[in-house]
Symmetry: C2
Amino acid sequence: MTETSTLPTVDRAGPRQTRPRRLVAELIAGRTGHFTAADLAADAQGRGLPLGRATIFRTLELLLGGGALERIDLPDGSHAYVECAPSHHHHAVCSRCGSVVDFDDAELAAVVRAVARRTGFRIDSHRLELFGLCPACQAGERSAG
Amino acid sequence: MTETSTLPTVDRAGPRQTRPRRLVAELIAGRTGHFTAADLAADAQGRGLPLGRATIFRTLELLLGGGALERIDLPDGSHAYVECAPSHHHHAVCSRCGSVVDFDDAELAAVVRAVARRTGFRIDSHRLELFGLCPACQAGERSAG
DNA sequence: GGGCTACATGAGACTCGGTATCATCACCGC
DNA sequence: GCGGTGATGATACCGAGTCTCATGTAGCCC
Ligand SMILES: [Zn+2]
Ligand SMILES: [Zn+2]
Ligand SMILES: [Zn+2]
Ligand SMILES: [Zn+2]
C-alpha cells in the first residue's frame, strides 16, 4: 500500500457535470411555479429526451442539498419542488397556478421566540408556508368570474 | 316514486358508531405524540385486535374531517397525525419524542398581512410548524450528555 | 325484538412517490 | 487516450394511501 500511487483522486472534486444533470437543470429552468419529479419525467418524455426516473430523483436530491431547490408541502399533503435561493426563507404559493414567491423571516423570529418562551420548547427549525392567489390569478378570477 | 315510502333514512344521521372506529379512537388515545397509520396498525396487531388497514385510513380521514385530528408534515417530508383541538392553531413538535404542543395564531396574523401587502398575494390559508426539543427531552439531553 | 337498508368493514389489488441494486457507462484528472 | 470513480438507468422494491367488492352490521322503523 504505497499511498502515493493508489490514490489517484483523493481530494474531493465535487459532483460531476453530466448530460442528464444538465438536462434536469434545463427542464427545471423551463418550468414556472412548483413541480414534481413526475412533471420533469413527463417533460423529458414529451421532448423525446432519454432520462431515467432514478436520475431525476438523484439530481433533485443533489439540488436540494446544494440549496438551489426546496421541497414544499402542499395543503393536500403532497410534495413539490421549487427553485430557490439558498438562504433561509419561506414561501407563498399560488393555489391556482403554482407560482411561488419567497419572503424572509424577520417578523417570524419574534413569533418563534414567544412560542419557545411559553412552551419551554427549544426551537431548532421551523416551516411556514402561505397559500392563496398570486396577483395574476386574482386578476384572472375577477375577470373570468 | 312515492317519496314517503322510498326514503327510509333521508335525514342525515352522521357517521355510525362501530367497533372498529371505537378501537381506532382507543389506540389513538393510548398514544403520546404524533403517530402514523402504520403505528396504529402495529398497535392493533400487537394486542391481537383485528383491524383492517383500510378502516384505519378511513377512520383517520373521518377524524381529520371532524377536526379531532390534524396531519403534520415532518421535516423529512413524511406525514404524521396528532390529536388536536378543532380550532385553528399551529404545532411545536419535539424531534426526539414526537410530543406536540399547540399554540395559537395571534402574532402570526401580522406576518401574514405584511407578506400579503408586499407580494400582492391574497393569502387564504397558511401552515406553520416549529421543530425542536420539548422540555423533557432537553432535560434528558443535558443529563445523558 | 325482527327486518331492512344503507353504511361500514376488510382482504386484496392497485397507484404513486421515492429508494435500492447492480451491471454498464462516461466524466475528468492524469 | 487511460483508468478509476462516480453516474446512469432498467428494474425490483418499498411504504403510504386509495379502490373494489363481497360480506357484515348499526340503527331506524315497525
Ligand atoms: Zn424559496
Ligand atoms: Zn397564480
Ligand atoms: Zn394541534
Ligand atoms: Zn420530546
